[in-house]
Symmetry: C2
DNA sequence: TTGAAAGCGCTACCAC
DNA sequence: GTGGTAGCGCTTTCAA
């Protein structure tokens, strides 16, 4: 029923081996022979059997990109950039050397993260890219470390993108980490510089690395400015979702009606903050300054007054893709910091 | 080096066939035998070889979800919902029956769309879900039709989600289509009902089905209201991006300074419209009403004055996933309309 | 209920 | 440069 390599060989009057060589293009073949084979492929409308090929070669062209939440453009931008770089410019279908870059949505669930890695391991994936903040649970870290080690030993390239390094990172080819601490610190310093003293902080889920790092940066800035009131009072944790920003802001205003600024752990959350403030009749930035993280495109157009750290999401994704493809050399030690740029928009004054 | 099924068999003192049966769970095996096998699997930390399995069984557990732009939450929401439904609730790694649902980002390129389908065909994918508007180029439609036909004949389930039916759709299991015409019509009627007569329209790329359908709905409403000025004058085409909404609005205001409302082909574009209007010193909705499509979450919190059609993205995605998994019956004839709901927010007045 | 063995379609090694 | 061919690791009859 389906056309096999042997059929092509028969039609082109060559051996299966030759057809394989032509298709993989990694072996010298006479020009006219190649021509004949290619014609036979076309005429028979032959499509390589991936599983058979992977089985024989003990590798596949699958590359998995894991993200925490694909509905969030933070991940969409990174994953899209990585995928573009990996799939190549034109998506040249013929050469046989193209990879199938594919996005896997873990929904932030540790089990699903491991499950996807197992599934990719099953498929003998060529590479795996892990993006975004990691869970800090010791058990999960150990499991991940073990799993990534197995993958690496089985020949799968592992790249971390916008994600902190693994505790014992030698199973990882390279890590592209964002400077979450520094970004949060600069953001807070900016608000302090404007004269703000009562700054609320909407943090992410407690168990994620990004949450902790950003919060640390925030507190470091506060401490340096001599603000030493009980740290927890103006910090509220929530998920990385709009609704969380909304709820947290209501809570913060209840705790401290004299709030003059709110810092959100990411842009999506910042929009929820804005919504809550607007509903309370407070104006941005006249009454309350809001600062986000990420610099997502929709936030840019929407709230010109929102100060953010512009994380180079697309660039990080593209670099991850290039690392996977070997187009970019892995750094010595495997770790690269990817700093964000502080973006100040509009005038963010202090309520008098 | 790597553990194989034979190793497991040896350790469990059974034949490879029995191990296979235990792992696939679709065959009667004595309880204690199964127990022994499972223990051996655990002890040896065995991971099934996907390619070998796929080769022997002539199918794989790969499901591809194609999207036009993964950085756009429109697709992120649909794809995420589909993936969740397909990967199952807990992502039960053991059962062996779980699918690997992966997202492929075509970037709206017809070549990449076909390339991805070929790659998935190579992998003998169990199913393919195509999402979002399709290209109307006859050549591409023919190529897609042929490709999908081959996939279907090779046993791959094909589901269309938020995408119009194929011209000759019998290669497709089911189509979940949005009512783009009706939605645009209702949106326009709403603005007309408020008294607007000079309504700008920011359309998507000319060659996409969603663009044409939404535009048709818009014009039908205008026509019904007796507005018959040259249709092109207040319509500007662009990509489905914010920047496009911005540019188009500047252009529209130049053509017709007396504009009182703008309808955007999707929410992302609508945000660009808002940005341009704000920059021009026009207030929303006092001066100009803006209407979008999609009802993306970030637009909800951001512009409470934005009127949109709430497309059931997550629901459509989830249903597509269920269709793939056979948890939901495919409709007779394969086509299902998924209607949007008109959402009116804030007061959208008319400039006097 | 279990085992033996014949492939699945391709790659890669070894001859020629 | 090209052909022959032995596996790759699993599934699935067919027998027992």
């Amino acid at each position: 029923m389906t056309v096999t390599l042997a059929d092509v060989a028969a039609r082109a009057r060559v051996s299966p081996a030759t057809v394989s060589r032509v298709l993989n293009g990694n072996y010298p073949v006479a020009a006219d022979t190649r021509e004949r084979v290619l014609r036979a492929v076309d005429e028979l409308d032959y499509v390589l059997n991936g599983p058979a090929s992977s089985l024989a070669a003990a590798t596949s062209d699958l590359v998995g990109i894991l993200v925490n939440d694909i509905a969030d453009p933070f991940f969409g931008i990174m994953a899209g950039a990585a995928q573009t770089e990996i799939s190549g410019p034109g998506g040249s279908a013929r050469a046989g050397c193209e990879k199938l870059a594919v996005i896997c949505n873990t929904e932030g669930s540790p089990e699903r993260e491991l499950t996807y890695l197992t599934l990719l391991q099953r498929q003998r994936a060529a590479a795996v890219v892990l993006t975004g903040g990691a869970l800090e649970d010791p058990g999960h870290i150990a499991a991940m470390s073990a799993k990534l080690g197995k993958l690496a030993r089985a020949g799968t390239t592992v790249v971390l993108c916008g994600r902190p390094p693994m505790p014992d990172g030698d199973q990882v080819l390279a890590t592209l980490a964002f400077d979450n601490r520094g970004g949060a610190r600069r953001l807070t310093e900016h608000l302090l510089g404007l004269g703000h003293r009562r700054i609320g902080y909407v943090a992410g889920p407690p168990e994620r690395t990004t949450t902790r790092h950003r919060l640390e940066g925030h507190r470091a800035a506060l401490l340096a400015a001599g603000i030493d009131e009980p740290q927890d009072r103006l910090t509220v944790h929530g998920s990385y979702a709009r609704s969380s920003g909304y709820t947290a802001t209501v809570e913060l205003l209840a705790r401290e009606p004299g709030l003059t600024a709110v810092l959100a752990a990411n842009d999506t959350v910042a929009l929820g903050v804005c919504a809550a403030l607007r509903e309370k009749g407070l104006r941005i930035p006249e009454d309350v300054s809001v600062a986000g993280f990420d610099d997502l495109p929709f936030a840019v157009d929407t709230w010109p007054a929102l100060t953010t750290v512009r994380l180079p999401l697309a660039e990080a994704g593209a670099r991850a893709g290039r690392l996977v493809m070997g187009k970019e050399a892995a750094p010595v030690g495997g770790r690269v910091g990817v700093e964000g740029e502080l973006v100040v928009r509009g005038s963010t004054g202090v309520r008098r």
